[in-house]
């Protein structure tokens, strides 16, 4: 540990028996990685011969057991090179040099940093210690119970995850009944990531997703009715039936899509983060601290757009969090077979941002990491790359026979079902009773059934809708032979005009 600025053990865990301290271990390790911008964490997770990448063994969520910290514990750290400081000579580390503020832009960035939380002082080397011990002190002084969430938060998280699960199960049913068509990609098993992150956002914060976007939409606040109608292709859908499963948008809830091609949404998310920065610095809306989350999968992390956007986001310190939902499979391509270095979180420091790896089947851990990452972005400290190890219980889409994945692997992750885990946590810690949780289950069932009914009864889009939204300004269809704009043609509004 000599080379490190500090050791997590030293920072907070001198007393292994104190449950409060122990619990901080995971948080610490995450914070450790997160606060150090130039950190290159060489932790090697335990590789089992059976499964590809079980970074974490199956353990109850929020667990305080020492095993959970294996991946990040001090013991592991000590065996790895751990360059924390600027003068490291490893190739991974490029010293973070502050460019001389030769322009307004760079100057303004600097100002932001100076005005950011005083806890994180500008001396990067020691920043972490301050943050961690501050957190520790905070936690101690609050003298709250040693739990990560309150009852209200717990129930909110539970309800959101159950909504996601029940909704997706209903989607499958409806698909096989012929109510929806095309490509439908279900999110079963990954709910912890969506809930863990999105429930920390404000309405003005933006979310950009992929084709696996139903649950992101639901977590962001888009009503289940609107999503289900969209899937049925009805005009009451959130996109008037024009988008479909893979293109969920909501202006009201700042859900910027829904993209069918992987990697396509990441630049859009970068743009939304750019707008947030622009609003604050150019338009002088000083309190604009909107954050953008970009969700994408392991396959996307081999795509050029991913790397280009990591570079730009870090370069301009955009308020964005890149969330990798690493479910180990891109349709039938295993992450290990397609990636030279499968540890995606390591790619963050290469661009000058923290890279964190977290157990994506544990909503509480995800939430803790998310708090830090989103907080960083809000304070103007720049982007973070968070890799969530998660798993989809179903196939890639409803058309995928899902024959390639090892049943043992599926069973391994099924045992770590995030909903079951949270339920256990809530009941064991007396945050909620079985009855309360069952009531939530029932309520969600009703919501989903109501959504299906609503979608069923909604009308299909009429022909007149065909040409309406092609252009924001329909003069874009041009001038017809008769000298009038085509959009003035009555047939245009009927949808029968020839354009």
């Amino acid at each position: 540990m000599g080379r490190m600025g500090f050791s997590p053990k030293h920072a907070c865990l001198t007393d292994e028996k104190d449950p409060n301290r122990q619990k901080i271990t995971n948080l610490t390790s995450c914070l450790l990685v997160s606060c150090q911008l130039n950190l290159h964490c060489e932790v090697r997770p335990p590789f089992s011969s059976k499964f590809p990448l079980p970074f974490f063994p199956s353990l109850p969520i929020g667990t305080k057991a020492t095993k959970m910290s294996t991946a990040f514990s001090a013991a592991n750290f000590s065996t790895q090179s751990f360059p924390l400081n600027h003068t490291s000579t490893t190739s991974h580390d490029s010293p973070l040099v502050f460019a001389k503020p030769t322009s307004q832009f760079l100057r303004s960035t600097r100002k932001l940093r100076l005005s950011s939380s005083s806890k994180l002082n500008l001396n990067r080397r020691s920043g972490t210690v301050v943050a961690v011990s501050d957190v520790v002190k905070q936690k101690k002084s609050k003298s709250t119970p040693t739990l990560l969430i309150t009852k209200e938060e717990g129930l909110e998280l539970y309800e959101d995850m159950v909504l996601g699960r029940a909704f997706e199960d209903m989607c499958a049913q409806m698909y096989y009944r012929g109510k929806m068509f095309g490509f439908v990609h279900l999110y079963n098993g990954q709910e912890a990531v969506s809930t863990g992150f999105i429930k920390l956002l404000k309405q003005q914060d933006s979310v950009v997703s992929t084709y696996r976007d139903h649950v992101h939409a639901l977590s962001k606040g888009v009503p289940a009715r609107a999503v289900m109608s969209e899937l049925f292709g009805k005009t009451t859908g959130c996109c008037r039936g024009q988008g479909g499963s893979m293109h969920m948008f909501s202006r009201e809830h700042n859900l910027l899509g829904g993209f069918a091609f992987i990697g396509e949404g990441i630049p859009v998310a970068t743009g939304a983060a750019f707008t947030s920065k622009y609003k604050r610095e150019v338009l002088k809306e000083a309190d604009c601290d909107h954050v953008t989350l970009a969700f994408f999968g392991d396959g996307t992390c081999n795509n050029g757009q991913f790397f280009e956007c990591l570079n730009m986001a870090a370069l301009w310190k955009l308020p964005i969090v890149f969330v990798v939902e690493n479910n180990l499979w891109a349709i039938g391509m295993s992450h290990l077979r397609s990636t030279s270095d499968p540890q995606i979180y390591k790619k963050g420091p290469a661009f000058g941002m923290p890279g964190i790896h977290v157990d994506g089947m544990d909503v509480l851990k995800v939430r803790e990491v998310a708090k830090e990452a989103i907080g960083r972005a809000r304070r103007g400290e720049g982007p973070t790359l968070v890799e969530c190890e998660t798993y989809r219980f179903r196939g890639h889409s409803l058309a995928d026979p899902d024959e390639l994945r090892d049943p043992a692997e599926k069973a391994h992750y099924a045992a770590r079902d995030p909903i079951t885990a949270l339920k256990k946590y809530l009941t064991e810690n007396n945050l909620a009773s079985d009855a309360e949780l069952k009531a939530i289950d029932k309520k969600i069932d009703e919501v989903v059934e109501d959504a299906v009914e609503f979608a069923d009864e909604s009308p299909v889009p009429p022909r007149s809708q065909l040409l309406e939204n092609v252009f924001a300004d329909p003069k874009g269809f041009g001038i017809g032979p008769d000298g009038r704009y085509r959009c003035e043609d009555p047939k245009f509004t009927e949808g029968t005009a020839h354009v």
């Binding site: 910027l256 859009v268 252009f471 924001a472």
Partner: protein, 410 residues
């Protein structure tokens, strides 16, 4: 009729002419155009239906003066100004910059993104000094990542800004095709109208002077099928500034095609604020015998050929279509109805180019009015060679245009 052409043929192209006073009184008013109006042309653009009462004499002479060469390098005492409105003279790239600067002053949400647009001032100086004036965030120097920064522009447009994305060369936007096609064109529709994308994507394209194949691409044909976008091509300082401003103000995504060889064209443009309608074509030279449809740099090859044709006794009507998507079928149709013969001259490739679409559109709508099959002169379907002689033979030259018109009018 003879008198007109006599005057044209004899006059030196750059002689000062009395045409300074030719502009009828009604066009002395502000050239500002409103969107819905096709009845109030500026004094530079003359609609075919409005031109009948014009002083054709000086108008055609003025048109000849405006285009001495395919690429104007000398100062042109443009007659487009009137005594009460002197205007100011500038080069095309300065006109673009002026338009951009005015829009950035007018609306703080307008920003520029591209490679070397900030400190370098733009590879063709269109954004020169804008970064000093507006700051590094509003005139953003991006890394070399076209796909991603175009996507970033789209994301910014969705969330309230009005970005102008510059492709250093239009050909580089091939790398951004994913974002332009999937997101730029489609997101307004797939979101059910919730998000507008008021982005402008601009850059120089076209065949230059021995720039090689990859820097001489014409992307208008590749982009034209994308639903949801508009494409315009500028050709004079006047319409460059006007189209730039209109594109920025438009709520639709607009791709503005500039041409590498036209950046140094000089013209006198009005001092007042004006825009050019994005969907309209421009009447360059009214005529009776044949309609020549063209855009961008080929406009100058056509005008050069027109000089020869006029000497030979032909009266071509030259229309700069300007709006590549959608086509202004009204102006084009009126012209076709008048002349019954159409020649399309473009720099695009032959296969699947703008000319091909235009031919189809005209045939569909105005077949009855045609006396002869539409002729389309396009570049050869050849990667633009480096050698100057070969390069010359890939694009349409004025001599070919003259031959084509003679053939058409036989």
């Amino acid at each position: 009729m003879a008198a007109i052409f006599q005057g044209v043929g004899a006059a030196a192209t750059l002689s000062s002419s009395p045409s300074n006073s030719f502009v009828p009184k009604k066009f002395l008013t502000s050239p500002r155009r409103s969107f819905s109006v096709r009845k109030v042309p500026s004094y530079v653009v003359v609609r075919s239906d409005g031109s009948v009462n014009f002083d054709l004499n000086s108008k055609s002479r003025r048109a000849q003066q405006l285009v001495a060469n395919a690429v104007a390098t000398k100062a042109d005492s443009s007659a487009a100004s009137s005594s009460s409105n002197p205007g100011h003279e500038l080069l095309l790239f300065e006109a673009l910059r002026e338009g951009l600067e005015e829009e950035m002053e007018r609306d703080p949400r307008v920003c520029v993104m591209g490679e070397d647009v900030g400190h370098y001032g733009g590879s063709y100086k269109v954004t020169k000094d804008l970064a000093k004036k507006f700051g590094d965030l509003r005139v953003l120097d991006t890394p070399i990542a076209e796909n991603s920064f175009t996507g970033m522009g789209i994301g910014a447009a969705m969330t309230g800004l009005r970005p102008v994305v510059e492709g250093m060369n239009m050909g580089f936007l091939l790398l951004a095709f994913n974002q332009i096609s999937n997101n730029c064109g489609m997101l307004h529709y797939t979101s059910g109208g919730q998000f507008t994308i008021p982005i402008v994507i601009r850059g120089p394209g076209g065949v230059g002077r021995q720039l090689g194949a990859e820097h001489s691409q014409r992307l208008e044909s590749y982009f034209q099928s994308i639903p949801g976008i508009q494409m315009v091509a500028c050709s004079t300082p006047y319409n460059a500034k006007g189209l730039m401003k209109a594109a920025i103000r438009s709520e639709n995504p607009v791709i503005l095609f500039e041409h590498v060889l036209l950046y140094n064209l000089k013209e006198r443009i009005p001092d007042e604020d004006y825009i050019c309608n994005l969907e309209e074509a421009e009447m360059v030279r009214p005529g009776e015998h044949v309609t020549i449809l063209t855009y961008s740099r080929m406009r100058y090859h056509v005008m050069q050929a027109a000089k020869t044709l006029v000497n030979k006794g032909y009266d071509p009507e030259v229309i700069d279509i300007r709006s590549l998507k959608p086509f202004d079928l009204y102006t084009i149709g009126n012209s076709v109805k008048k002349t019954h013969r159409v020649l399309i001259v473009e720099e695009c490739m032959r296969t699947g180019g703008i000319g091909a679409s235009l031919t189809a559109a005209i045939t569909e709508n105005f077949n009855d009015y045609l006396d002869a099959p539409i002729m389309c002169l396009s570049s050869q379907d050849v990667p633009t060679p480096y050698a100057g002689t070969l390069e010359e033979w890939t694009v349409v030259q004025p001599a070919q245009i003259v031959t084509a018109v003679e053939q058409l009018c036989r």
